[in-house]
């Protein structure tokens, strides 16, 4: 399956005191890094696309279809969080299998796909482990394996590698790039790391004060000509 | 719309219950009684066997907690009751029981009945009787009080456990006993007795348990209590104190319900009740005195029981009329 475009059309959302308004248009198969100061609304932006939050007005379009009112599970979207991606009491294979059947009723073909996804993410042989027995990097690989078996056109990642070391993070980025090359899904990834954004994304969406303040190619954003607020944020 | 869920749930419960309804059959008599009557050590099993042999029918006991619960149960069920016979009311309850209009005249001969003070009621038939008494532990107390007056005015160190007249039959019995002896002075007497009362329990069981645990050397119970300890446990440690003023009487009775009029076995049972076949089961299973002749003499332990100098009793209507006021008077003194 290839990617699908994601468009936020005058999406408004209020969270307590803060009012947010997002306009964004991401092309199918594109990789976008979402950056911005803490509390600026990056996670909310992803939650609106994933369906965990409902806009008070405006539309969320995925692949050209209006997804504004769809519940999370029915959206063509997978999301990986910084943590709590796995159910602690279920082993690796089951956690991945849930991506195929929410009742865990797996066919032989499903099982084969789960095994293949685990092999692809380098987790062969760890099917029976519980999340507590895995390292942080391995747990995120399990989450990515589930993304593979779900096979949705859009992948959202909310600081997925924030708690991993530099080498491991590079490894994970390579894996993510590889998967995107194979499947062609659209990716939006929240990150605070300029190197991560540069390595992965073609475009950067800069979120500030509850709105997409800038949305431009990475080279441009990181150049001297980038928006001053963005430059202040990355400490350039 | 409050009634809708109510009806729904009633239907639901009824459905759940439908499976275990006892079938009404010919040649079957249903007797409501209290549970210590039907207990395996109570008179129930022997009575059932003897009556079934006599009538060639089936006798079903339905047991509730005690005499008060019997009246309530009947009141709650009204004319739809399953009971042909209600067995286990006492003279404190007969007036209220009669007032429900749910009982019919017995129509049997009372010639064989022998209870103190005689008996000529047209509805209720006695099956046993007893006297309330202060039972004491002879190992903790050498000389028990010889009269109610001595108990009331005695040494505050010799404690007694009594029952609450609001919740227990013996408790009400002591209240009436005091009233019968002291009349209008009962309040003042209670005020004096109060110091000797260790505690007031909700029922006989709690009081007697405290007594046998040694918490107090005296308890309010029955003149027949020592007979139990002597016959069943072989000890004469626990004795009843004979009171000069006399003892208050409790007569236990049975009666036929309006529903039981249609069942010829009901009248037969009331008649059977005053024969030795029934009465033989009473003394050493219900630990009361039989209300008619038994086929063999009673165990000597019963013969040794306190013989009251006088039999004290109020008429049922007098109890019914005054009970609430008297209990209130008792509460006022005892809560002070």
């Amino acid at each position: 399956m290839s990617g699908a475009g994601v468009r936020l059309d005058r999406v408004e959302f209020s969270y307590g005191e803060a009012a947010m308004r997002f306009d964004l248009d991401v092309a199918a198969g594109e990789i976008v890094a979402v950056m911005g100061p803490s509390g600026s609304g990056k996670s909310t932006l992803l939650n609106l696309i994933a369906g965990f939050e409902r806009p008070s007005s405006g539309r969320v379009l995925i692949g050209g279809a209006d997804a504004t009112r769809l519940p999370p599970a029915l959206r063509p979207v997978s999301m990986v969080f910084q943590e709590n991606n796995l159910f602690a009491h279920l082993d690796v294979a089951r956690n991945v299998g849930l991506g195929r059947s929410p009742a865990l009723k797996l066919t032989a073909r499903d099982r084969a796909d789960v095994a293949a996804a685990l092999a692809r993410t380098g987790l062969s042989g760890k099917e029976g482990r519980l999340p507590g027995e895995l390292s942080g990097g391995e747990r995120q690989r399990v989450a990515l394996s589930r993304v593979l078996v779900r096979d949705r056109p859009v992948l959202l990642l909310d600081e997925p590698f924030a708690s991993l070391g530099p080498a491991l993070r590079r490894e994970m980025l390579d894996l993510l790039r590889g998967l995107q090359a194979e499947r062609g899904m659209t990716i939006l990834m929240v990150t605070h790391q300029p190197d991560e954004a540069r390595a992965l994304a073609r475009r950067i969406a800069f979120v500030e004060d509850g709105t997409v303040a800038a949305f431009a190619p990475a080279d441009e954003m990181f150049s001297q000509a980038g928006p001053s607020a963005f430059r202040a944020y990355i400490g350039a | 719309m409050r009634t809708t869920p109510f009806i729904l749930s009633a239907a639901m419960l009824a459905l759940l219950a439908a499976a275990s309804t006892p079938a009404a059959a010919d040649g079957r008599l249903t007797v409501y009684t209290y549970d210590s009557f039907t207990a395996e050590w109570g008179p129930g099993p022997a009575v059932k066997k003897a009556f079934e042999a006599r009538c060639g029918c089936e006798l079903d006991f339905v047991a509730v907690a005690d005499g008060v619960a019997l009246v309530n149960r009947l009141r709650l069920e009204g004319k739809d009751t399953q009971a042909d016979i209600v067995l286990g009311l006492d003279t404190n309850l007969t007036f209220e029981a009669r007032a429900t209009g749910l009982f019919s005249p017995h129509g049997v001969s009372l010639a064989r009945v022998a209870v103190p003070g005689g008996w000529d009621d047209d509805t209720f038939v006695p099956y046993d009787y007893g006297y309330f008494a202060v039972v004491y532990d002879s190992e903790a107390m050498a000389t028990p009080p010889a009269s109610l007056k001595e108990l009331v005015e005695g040494d505050g160190d010799d404690k007694i456990v009594i029952q609450d007249p609001r919740t227990s039959t013996p408790g009400l019995g002591l209240l009436l006993w005091m009233k019968a002896v002291y009349g209008d002075e009962a309040s003042a007497a209670w005020a004096k007795l109060k110091d000797k009362v260790l505690t007031v329990t909700p029922g006989w069981s709690e009081a007697y348990g405290l007594f046998t645990n040694g918490e107090a050397p005296m308890v309010l119970s029955y003149t027949t209590s020592p007979a139990y300890h002597e016959i069943a446990e072989g000890t004469t440690r626990y004795k009843a104190a004979a009171f000069a003023e006399g003892h208050y009487l409790q007569v236990e009775v049975a009666a036929r319900t309006v529903k039981g009029e249609a069942n010829p076995l009901a009248q037969d049972f009331l008649d059977f009740m005053t024969t030795p076949a029934f009465q033989d089961a009473i003394p050493e299973a219900n630990w009361m005195f039989p209300a008619a002749a038994t086929s063999a003499p009673l165990d000597p332990a019963f013969e040794r029981a306190v013989r009251p100098a006088a039999t004290l009793a109020f008429a049922p209507e007098e109890i019914a009329k005054n009970r609430q006021a008297w209990v209130r008077e008792w509460l006022d003194v005892m809560s002070r």
Partner: protein, 544 residues
């Protein structure tokens, strides 16, 4: 708004409770409609005294149970490896399963006029020890029942504190005082109103203990007045009025308690930690050990008296008695059925409450329904079982089904009465699990029965088993409903115990009390084993 299945389940649970209580009231009110005079006459100076005493003894009992329980729970929490800790906690579940009279006898065996300590106490007070009757007796017995209960509930609250916080405290070198103020007290304070409310309600409805140990009718609770109104005077109007008063007074007090405390906040990131480090040291270690041992002595003393009294009985004969077999089986079946119903009800209520909390805006006040799902349902504790029993009896008369009513009533009433306890054990775990899994489950589309089976049940199994054990213990010791019906179709162990006691067989009764305690201990061990064996994976959790 699409109706959430969980909210529907919660509403069904509330409905069941409403039907149970409402149906009973409807029955009594219908009966009372003939003569309402009793309702008005009930309110007089005597009632005022009774109400005042009811609240006074309940407030004192609550204070004396809850304040030490906080210290004991904290001591137990800070010494996870304290010798015999597991056994102590199991012992702490036992008082709940004992009929009140057995507990009263246990207390008196030590502190009574002829108790073990009578000579010592008499020596102190100069003269013969009069026995612990009156208010001190009532309070002692209530603390015996409720201190262990409160301790277990507080300990649960402390164990829900994320391990990271303990590590942080240890790293920052927080002393006993600082960690109490900064870590333990906030967790305890969140649990305090609920626990105190529960204990208060239990003490408000105390009956046998108040009468037996109270020394005289000056010690009378509203529950006694209700019992008297229904049983001796058969005055449904007065019973309904008194029950309404009892519920109203309790609601007022508990509402006040809730105002004092913070709401229960679930920690979202909760990584169910590996064992947290024991942080107590030096002097504190000795103080804590003394606290634990003192509370143990307080609870184990009367229990030991029950054992000693029971051992004097002819246990071999009792154990061979078919009536005892039947009663044990009946008790187990009824207790198990009520416990399962109770846990199911509590899960439904907890799930519905959480679902409603997530639905509303974060800054919005909880709706009436949400609050009913939370604390509201707990008030069912102060509706006397005899009122429920009698009400349904009246309501169903004429259907000819009264014979079969007793077991249904016993199960339903016990399940509902145990629910406030179960809810207290289940809700924090449910909320924490929900906070962790909600988005993931929503994204993966796991819902309904699949979600319960795969996600929610494994997360709440441990507290649910605790709740199950609690509910079983409570139901095992219950006599309330059965006493009214006195039906021979439901001869339970406590019923048999009372029957033996009521016919001079005091020793048999003592033996049965021992048996009841052993059965309850066995159930506790089963429940704990179920937790340990099958709950192990969660222990590791998803550590960061």
């Amino acid at each position: 708004m699409p109706r959430d299945g969980r909210i529907l389940a919660g509403m069904a649970g509330l409905g069941l409770i409403g039907i149970l209580v409402g149906g009973a009231f409807a029955g009594l009110i219908h009966e009372a409609a003939r003569d309402w005079s009793g309702a008005g006459e009930a309110f007089d100076a005597y009632l005022f005294r009774v109400a005042r005493f009811t609240l006074w003894q309940a407030a004192l009992s609550t204070l004396l149970s809850v304040a030490p329980a906080i210290l004991v729970a904290r001591a137990l929490a800070r010494h996870p490896a304290f010798a015999g800790r597991g056994l102590i906690l199991k012992l702490f579940a036992l008082p709940l399963a004992l009929p009140a009279i057995v507990a009263a006898m246990g207390v008196l065996a030590l502190l009574g006029r002829a108790g073990l300590f009578a000579d010592v106490l008499g020596g102190w007070s100069g003269g013969r020890w009069p026995g612990v009757y009156g208010l001190p007796g009532i309070l002692t017995a209530h603390v015996f029942f409720n201190l262990p209960l409160a301790t277990r509930l507080f300990l649960q609250a402390l164990e829900a504190v994320p391990a990271d916080q303990w590590r942080l405290a240890a790293q920052l070198g927080m002393g006993a005082r600082a960690s109490f103020r900064l870590i333990e007290w906030p967790a305890l304070r969140a649990a305090l109103p609920g626990v105190a409310g529960l204990v208060f309600m239990l003490c408000v409805t105390s009956f046998t203990i108040v009468l037996t140990l109270g020394g005289g009718p000056g010690a009378t609770t509203l529950e006694v007045a209700i019992y008297q109104a229904l049983r001796f005077d058969f005055d449904p109007a007065r019973a309904v009025a008194l029950t309404a008063l009892q519920v109203a007074l309790t609601v007022a007090v508990v509402a006040l308690l809730l105002k004092l405390g913070a709401g229960m906040a679930a920690d979202a990131g909760l990584p169910v930690a590996p064992r947290r480090p024991a942080v107590a040291g030096g002097v504190e270690r000795w103080v804590n050990a003394a606290l634990i041992l003192a509370s143990l002595a307080f609870v184990a003393g009367p229990l030991a008296a029950v054992v000693v009294a029971g051992a004097r009985a002819d246990l071999a004969r009792l154990l061979a008695d078919p009536a005892v077999h039947r009663a044990t089986l009946t008790s187990l079946v009824l207790a198990a059925t009520s416990a399962f119903l109770c846990v199911a009800l509590s899960l439904a209520l907890a799930a519905a409450r959480r679902a409603m909390e997530m639905k509303r805006r974060r800054d919005a006040r909880p709706s009436f329904l949400e609050r009913m799902l939370d604390t509201g349902a707990g008030f069912v504790l102060v509706v006397p079982p005899i009122v429920i029993g009698a009400g349904w009896f009246v309501a169903l008369r004429g259907t000819g089904q009264l014979f079969a009513l007793a077991p249904v009533m016993v199960v339903a009433v016990n399940a509902v009465m145990a629910m406030p306890f179960a809810l207290r054990a289940i809700r924090p775990a449910w909320d924490a699990a929900s906070a962790r899994h909600e988005r993931l489950a929503a994204q993966l589309g796991i819902s309904g029965i699949d979600r319960l089976r795969l996600i929610d049940w494994p997360a709440v199994r441990r507290p649910a088993l605790t709740a199950l054990a609690f509910a079983m213990a409570l139901s095992l010791g219950d006599l309330g409903v059965i006493a009214l019906f006195g039906s021979d179709s439901v001869q339970t162990l406590p019923y048999l115990l009372y029957a033996r006691m009521g016919s001079y067989r005091t020793l048999d009764a003592a033996g049965l009390a021992l048996l009841l305690g052993v059965v309850c201990l066995g159930l506790m061990m089963l429940a704990e084993q179920g937790r340990a064996e099958r709950g192990r994976p969660e222990l590791r959790g998803e550590a960061r």
